[in-house]
């Protein structure tokens, strides 16, 4: 089945090449992310306990705000120059091509933010040994956000103000991601505190949140590529 995967790899390669040739998008998303997460502590004052408490929420909101504008542009250039049309007349299944594009978007849009998050976590007073869990949540929740964002971007393709529509569609669908994500990172903090107090095994409250987020990711992995593909087909009709 060369016909299935070769075009997918080609799309991944092309998107990563494009992103590296013009890293402006990545850098602007990254600087936006850092700006939000540094401005909030500045505004709130330097109470470390308070900062650590709200850190999960701030990091998640920053991830959403930084990734949304980039998600919105995911297909616009391809739509304008006819690459989407060529994807549709390709023998490869459109949903597979879209999955390839979504996974690449995760690498380009989310991964830099995930890699930047530890620095910010330390600024917020998150202990270093908690970072692995935080990164796990950000990586998996970020995949959810990209899967949702791709659907939203495809659905609003060609509308009058696609940016606003993408946001309107993303907002309700990504609320569960935000809730599980924030609760998960908070739970890591609680687990850590409990483990420290009783010197026993961690209570593992974060594991439950991680599993819920994982289930959500699986549902979206199945749902998003075909919906995105169908939406793009409609936009090209």
């Amino acid at each position: 089945m060369r016909g299935m995967f070769q075009p997918c790899f080609a799309i991944m390669l092309a998107d990563i090449r494009s992103a590296l040739r013009y890293p402006g998008d990545i850098l602007s998303g990254l600087s936006f992310f850092i700006m939000i997460t540094t401005l909030v502590p500045l505004g709130l004052g330097s109470d470390q306990g308070e900062l650590a408490r709200i850190a999960p929420a701030i990091i998640w909101i920053a991830v959403m705000l930084a990734s949304l504008p980039q998600m919105d542009r995911l297909f616009t250039r391809h739509a304008k120059n006819g690459v989407l049309e060529q994807m549709l007349v390709s023998p490869a299944p459109m949903a597979m091509l879209m999955l390839a594009k979504i996974l690449t978007a995760w690498v380009i849009i989310i991964l830099p933010l995930v890699l930047a998050a530890p620095v910010l976590g330390l600024m917020f007073g998150l202990p270093f040994h908690m970072l692995a869990g935080v990164l796990g949540f950000l990586a998996m929740g970020g995949l959810c956000l990209v899967l949702i964002g791709a659907m939203a971007a495809a659905l609003s393709l060609g509308s009058r103000q696609s940016g606003i529509f993408t946001a309107i569609i993303v907002l309700p669908l990504s609320m569960p991601v935000l809730i599980f994500g924030v609760a998960g990172i908070s739970a890591i903090q609680t687990d850590h505190a409990m483990a420290g107090a009783s010197t026993g095994a961690s209570t593992g409250a974060s594991t439950g949140h991680m599993m819920l987020l994982g289930a959500l990711t699986l549902v979206l992995l199945v749902l998003s590529p075909p919906v995105t593909a169908a939406a793009i087909r409609f936009s090209e009709e």
């Binding site: 509308s159 309107i168 309700p172 809730i179 936009s235």
Partner: protein, 242 residues
């Protein structure tokens, strides 16, 4: 499908719906009068919640309607996407505003109920959050459906959004059973029969009937408006061609 084909003829559609419309209005008016009497005069105060239980008679039927309306819209979306029937699209578009209205009523009256009972206007529990998502989905649908230069261009993406949002419905329904939340569990639609007092169930059902009648009447009215709107667009484009 047969029904859609039969109703597809616009004059026939108008004929049938104009026959239904006064019936729906009448049923709604009678049920509302009876429901108000039951809700305020003929039903007891709850032994725990006191008189605030009377909020339930608008809150719960509105929540049912909000969910039923979304389900109907999603079914219309399936009809539209599979059989490309314009009437299904018009139906979904017509139901969106009343559906959003029901969702908003549910949220606001719930808030006015939660304040005296839980001591807070709003909590981020699963039931409330999923209802809020439903409201946002209605808004998103309306924005997307009308968000394109050509009105019909928005129909397909908006229908697709409806289908994606369907996963929210079971979450609303079962959120009170799956998660330990502040919101009370379901007491009407249960496998082992309703656990609610019949004196409270009756006004609940009568109010739901009143809202259903209103919903049918409004949907018919809005569908006819949308059909006329499409006719206007067609006539105008024909004029500009000739």
């Amino acid at each position: 499908m047969m029904m859609f084909d039969y109703l597809a003829n616009p004059t026939r559609f108008r004929k049938i719906t104009t026959a239904i419309l006064p019936v729906a209005v009448l049923v709604s008016a009678i049920a509302l009068a009876f429901g108000l009497y039951l809700a305020f005069l003929a039903s007891p105060a709850d032994y725990q919640q006191g008189e605030t239980v009377r909020i339930m008679y608008i809150h719960v039927p509105a929540a049912w309607m909000a969910m039923m309306c979304y389900l109907l819209m999603a079914l219309s979306a399936v009809f539209y996407l599979v059989w490309r029937h314009p009437l299904a699209d018009i139906g979904a578009r017509a139901m969106a505003l009343p559906g959003a209205g029901f969702a908003l009523i549910t949220l606001l009256t719930g808030s006015f109920w939660g304040r005296p009972m839980w001591g807070t206007w709003w909590v981020w529990d699963a039931r409330l959050t999923s209802m809020l998502i439903l409201f946002f989905l209605y808004l998103g649908y309306m924005a997307l459906a009308d968000g394109f230069e050509r009105a019909e261009r928005g129909s397909k993406p908006a229908s697709l959004l409806l289908l994606v949002g369907v996963i929210n419905l079971p979450i609303i329904k079962f959120s009170v059973d799956w998660w330990n939340t502040l919101h009370q569990g379901s007491s009407v639609l249960r496998l082992d029969g309703p656990s609610i007092d019949p004196a409270m169930l009756k006004p609940l059902l009568i109010m739901a009937l009143a809202m259903l009648g209103w919903f049918i009447a409004i949907t018919i009215l809005r569908m006819n408006t949308l059909i006329m709107r499409r006719r206007i667009t067609n006539l105008e484009s024909r004029k500009s061609w000739s």
